[in-house]
């Protein structure tokens, strides 16, 4: 498959247009971009408060939720950077470096898209769902899961754009269980899966798709310092040996390329390796 021509990257300082608190730890941040972001679905931006000074030092990689003159991101407050983003007021300047990375591959004609997401992984899938709706093709199937009803940000938006199945592990919304339980039941040979969420979830999704020979595209999430290919901090193990870099070769990749058995199954960003002195 030939690579799409990617939009030019730029570093722009943009004021926050609005911050919507959408329950729990989740917020949608929308920025004002007079030049308009040309981001494609699946691409990401490195976001940092322009007035943060020396700490937090690094920008945070965030998938675009929308592009255009009001680009937006979905955040979950998990650390110092997202804490500040979750408190930001309109007018506050942020630097956005983007659009970065490989977008979702173009949906294959004749295959029905199945979007499988968990938590904030919904952002690039919603962007894709809107593109699919604009292309007025067949509505995609979406399977969206979380631990509980509180972990399903923007589920209403997704419901309006897809045939939505919701799962929660505690049964407080939709089907009790995991997204892969539902996927296993409904995955058909003429489907094409797009997935974004925790590594463990995507590993299972990839496994199901591979077993049934259904194409599967995964959007990878890893820590990154730069987002544009120089820090080499975002390696993802691949089946052919070695690594691909999530920032430039991803974040959207053919799920079969990823060696999920060696991929980091950390439940939370930045936490990876057992401290051996602790049982």
């Amino acid at each position: 498959m030939s690579s799409p021509v990617l939009p030019q990257r730029r570093l722009a300082t943009l004021p926050l247009l609005r911050r919507e608190s959408i329950g729990g730890l989740y917020h949608v941040l929308t920025f004002e971009d007079p030049d308009g972001s040309k981001a494609l679905p699946g691409q990401f931006t490195m976001v940092r408060g322009a007035e943060w000074g020396d700490a937090p030092l690094l920008p945070r990689p965030m998938s675009y939720l929308t592009a255009g003159h009001a680009p937006s991101i979905l955040i979950k407050v998990i650390g110092e950077g997202t804490l500040r983003m979750g408190r930001a007021e309109p007018g506050e300047p942020f630097t956005l470096l983007g659009p970065l990375g490989q977008p979702w591959r173009a949906p294959t004609p004749g295959r029905r898209a199945v979007l499988v997401g968990g938590g904030v992984g919904i952002a690039p899938l919603l962007f894709l769902a809107r593109e699919l709706a604009a292309a007025s093709g067949r509505q995609p199937i979406a399977i969206y899961g979380g631990r509980s009803s509180k972990d399903l940000p923007l589920d209403d938006d997704l419901a309006s754009l897809s045939e939505l199945h919701v799962t929660t592990e505690d049964g407080t919304r939709g089907t009790r269980g995991r997204v892969t339980d539902v996927l296993s039941d409904l995955l058909g040979p003429d489907h094409e899966v797009f997935t974004c969420g925790p590594d463990r979830m995507m590993a299972k999704v990839a496994e199901l798709c591979a077993a049934r020979d259904v194409p599967c595209e995964a959007s990878l999430e890893t820590p990154m310092a730069c987002g544009y290919g120089v820090c080499l901090g975002c390696p993802v193990p691949i089946t052919e040996g070695g690594y691909l870099y999530a920032c430039t070769q991803g974040p959207c990749v053919d799920a079969r390329r990823v060696d999920w058995s060696r991929a980091d199954h950390a439940p939370k960003k930045g936490a990876a390796h057992p401290l051996r002195t602790k049982p």
Partner: protein, 302 residues
């Protein structure tokens, strides 16, 4: 009209602002941002004899006003660099400092000999101070005798200027710098990262797969400045400063301490144009004061 040019031994740089190895790729990732040929130079990602895949994830994590990295010298290898990267850099007129790494003196020499066959390499920077690999690396850099030996071997093998990048973990870094000077180094680069560690106490897990990683960023700056001051006072070859330089003010601080040139490292991550920004500010500073960049070197030393 002020001049920003500085001399690092026999090599004249168009200005004193360079980018640091490991923080700027191969200089070809910046087309969307600015023309890197404007810089005093770029130091390549550390080149080894054979390509290296690098360490498993996680390789990086953030710390207060800094970060840790344990990339493990992932690089394309000197051959692919000469074949795929250098011709483009050369054609664009970029001043290229090839940062090289090996686990033996013989391999340092072999890489140097490969680079000798190319035009467009302005200098060789010896990485004798990587904290993230199990052999070679920092073991050379901690020891004055070994560091001198590597420097001498490369010195004999090439006509190119040889810079040696110091480890802050050397017991007596001034002694190591002097040993390199005596062995024929043209410049001392100081400093490389310092080994650090971070633990996620929610999960009682180390954040880096390599356990430790090199600490860089603004938090490192005062330590780097102190070391640059000490080395600049002890050797007569130029010192090229590195350590948390993010702004023109930081660059001026290191030059005032005696640095002939500076390298912008971690700051490139958040802002791909960081080095260009530092350079533009330096130009304005010199023009406003009607001074040449050379006048800044060591201006705070008595």
């Amino acid at each position: 009209m002020t001049s920003l040019a500085v001399n690092v031994g026999t090599l004249t740089l168009r200005n004193p602002i360079l980018t640091a190895s490991g923080c700027f790729g191969y200089g070809l990732e910046y087309d969307d941002f600015y023309d890197v040929a404007e810089l005093g130079g770029i130091c390549t990602k550390g080149l080894s004899l054979s390509p290296r895949a690098g360490n498993p994830p996680e390789r990086i994590c953030e710390t207060p006003a800094g970060m840790l990295n344990a990339i493990g010298l992932a690089n394309v290898g000197v051959e692919a660099f000469c074949r795929d990267k250098l011709p483009v850099l050369r054609q664009r007129g970029v001043t290229v400092v090839a940062n090289i790494f090996a686990s033996s003196v013989a391999d340092f020499v072999t890489i140097t000999e490969r680079l000798n066959r190319e035009t467009g390499v302005a200098a060789i920077e010896l990485n004798v101070s990587c904290p993230n690999v199990t052999e070679g690396g920092i073991e050379f850099g901690k020891d004055a005798r070994m560091c001198g030996e590597v420097t001498r071997a490369v010195r004999v093998a090439t006509k190119l200027p040889v810079w040696v990048k110091m480890s802050p973990e050397a017991g007596n870094i001034v002694a190591v710098a002097k040993a390199c000077e005596e062995a024929g180094a043209d410049a001392i680069t100081a400093i490389n990262t310092i080994r650090g560690m971070s633990i996620d106490v929610e999960q009682n897990k180390l954040r880096l797969a390599n356990r430790t990683g090199g600490f860089s960023g603004p938090a490192l700056r005062p330590i780097a400045l102190r070391i640059v001051w000490e080395i600049a006072g002890a050797v007569s070859i130029p010192v090229i400063a590195i350590g948390g330089i993010s702004t023109t003010r930081d660059a001026l601080e290191f030059m005032a301490a005696g640095a002939t040139a500076v390298q912008v490292g971690t700051a490139n991550f958040a802002d791909p144009s960081a080095a260009k920004r530092v350079l533009d500010g330096l130009r304005t500073h010199c023009e406003n004061r009607h001074i040449d960049a050379k006048a800044l070197i060591g201006c705070a030393r008595g």
